[in-house]
């Protein structure tokens, strides 16, 4: 039995460290499962990878929870050698979040999560963001709540 169990690990052995690009962050992730198509991380890394947290009821972002069975293996969740692994790309597909990867350098790049965009797309609420000013201090749009703001993009090109 142990031998068989070990064999089934073959397809999902320990993987190399990866870099995740999401929400303007460059996130180094040390622990992954080797999988040519999907990105698996340990649940403890999930919050810094995409803002979600794995709870008993599922993978949750604020009010939104995607149910995840955790007493058995599934597309989104597996247990190997007592270590739980979460499939970030399977969650992205479920949420229709666009992503792409550079497999040579193991860089995964994720786009916006549509369900987090409904306040903007359907209720015209301004998406918040945080960017550095010229001194490198971070400024948030929501710092200006209570004022009228003209937000303008421009470029030197």
């Amino acid at each position: 039995m142990i031998v068989l169990a070990t064999c089934s690990l073959g397809a999902l052995a320990s993987g190399e460290p990866v870099t995740v690009l999401y929400n303007d962050q460059v996130i180094a992730v040390e622990r992954t499962l080797a999988d040519p198509n999907d990105l698996w991380v340990i649940p403890a890394d999930l919050p810094r990878v995409n803002g979600f947290e794995l709870k008993p009821e599922g993978a949750c972002l604020a009010e939104l929870c995607v149910p995840v069975l955790q007493d058995r293996d599934s597309e989104m969740f597996v247990t190997r050698a007592n270590q739980a692994w979460f499939n970030v790309t399977a969650l992205a597909r479920r949420l229709e979040q666009p992503y792409t990867a550079d497999h040579d350098h193991r860089v995964w790049s994720f786009g916006e999560i549509p369900v987090t965009r409904t306040q903007f797309l359907h209720s015209a609420m301004a998406p918040d963001f945080e960017l550095p000013n010229r001194k490198g201090q971070l400024v948030r749009l929501s710092d200006f709540r209570g004022k009228k703001v003209l937000l303008v993009t421009w470029a030197s090109w």
């Binding site: 870099t19 690009l21 303007d24 460059v26 666009p98 992503y99 792409t100 550079d102 350098h105 860089v107 790049s109 994720f110 786009g111 916006e112 903007f120 797309l121 359907h122 209720s123 015209a124 609420m125 301004a126 998406p127 918040d128 963001f129 960017l131 550095p132 000013n133 010229r134 400024v139 749009l141 929501s142 200006f144 709540r145 209570g146 004022k147 009228k148 703001v149 003209l150 937000l151 303008v152 993009t153 421009w154 470029a155 030197s156 090109w157």
Partner: protein, 206 residues
């Protein structure tokens, strides 16, 4: 313009959208010495969030954080950055009217109008966003690789001038032949979303 409106509870946030960061924006910001809020956006974050496809683009955001105008292409001396002035003079009076009169301004749109005006992305255009960001990530490390992702992003989202112009700027300098060729080939497509500056109809009994 900003100085005369500072008492109106009004703020201009200028976002320099450039992969080279302050190095690229410096010359312009220095020349203008902006007293407004000047931010640096190396990954085109704001365009990604607000579905903008060109610069300059703008959104008006009210005191409660609601967008009350969005996605129009011509923004004149609203932003005089050094010698750069954008577009026409028409936009400036509209902004002043809003800054002064707030929600009562005839230039403020309803929620439905704003929602209708927000640019929608196809699934390919949505995929172009993380693809473009891969290019930004690789630009400092491996320029050829960066370029291949930018070209892919352009193919996925051919109407995004942001993706084209950032790439061409770093490849062949400002306003190069690719820019002129693509702009010349627009046909009936808009380079900028048109301004709709007719004030909202008011029920005025005269």
């Amino acid at each position: 313009m900003y100085d005369e409106l500072q008492d109106q509870n009004f703020e201009i946030i200028a976002v320099a959208q450039d992969t080279l960061g302050d190095a690229a924006a410096k010359e312009w910001y220095d020349a203008a010495d902006p007293s407004y809020t000047a931010l640096i956006d190396t990954t085109h974050r704001v365009s990604s969030l607000y579905n903008f496809v060109n610069v300059p683009s703008a959104a008006w955001i009210d005191e409660e954080g609601r967008v009350v105008r969005i996605n129009e292409g011509t923004y004149s001396q609203v932003l005089s950055l050094g010698q750069a002035t954008f577009g026409t003079d028409e936009y400036r009076p509209a902004v002043i009217d809003w800054a002064t009169n707030g929600a009562a301004s005839a230039y403020v749109w309803s929620q439905d109008q704003v929602v209708d005006k927000i640019r929608r992305r196809t699934s390919d255009e949505a995929l172009a966003e993380p693809t473009f960001k891969l290019g930004v990530y690789f630009y400092e490390r491996d320029e050829a690789r960066a370029r291949s992702y930018w070209e892919r992003a352009q193919a996925l989202s051919p109407d995004s001038w942001n993706f084209h112009r950032q790439d061409w700027n770093l490849t062949e300098g400002l306003g190069g032949p690719k820019y002129r060729e693509k702009r010349g080939g627009l046909g009936d497509k808009d380079y900028y979303a048109p301004l709709e500056l007719a004030p909202r109809a008011t029920t005025s009994a005269r």
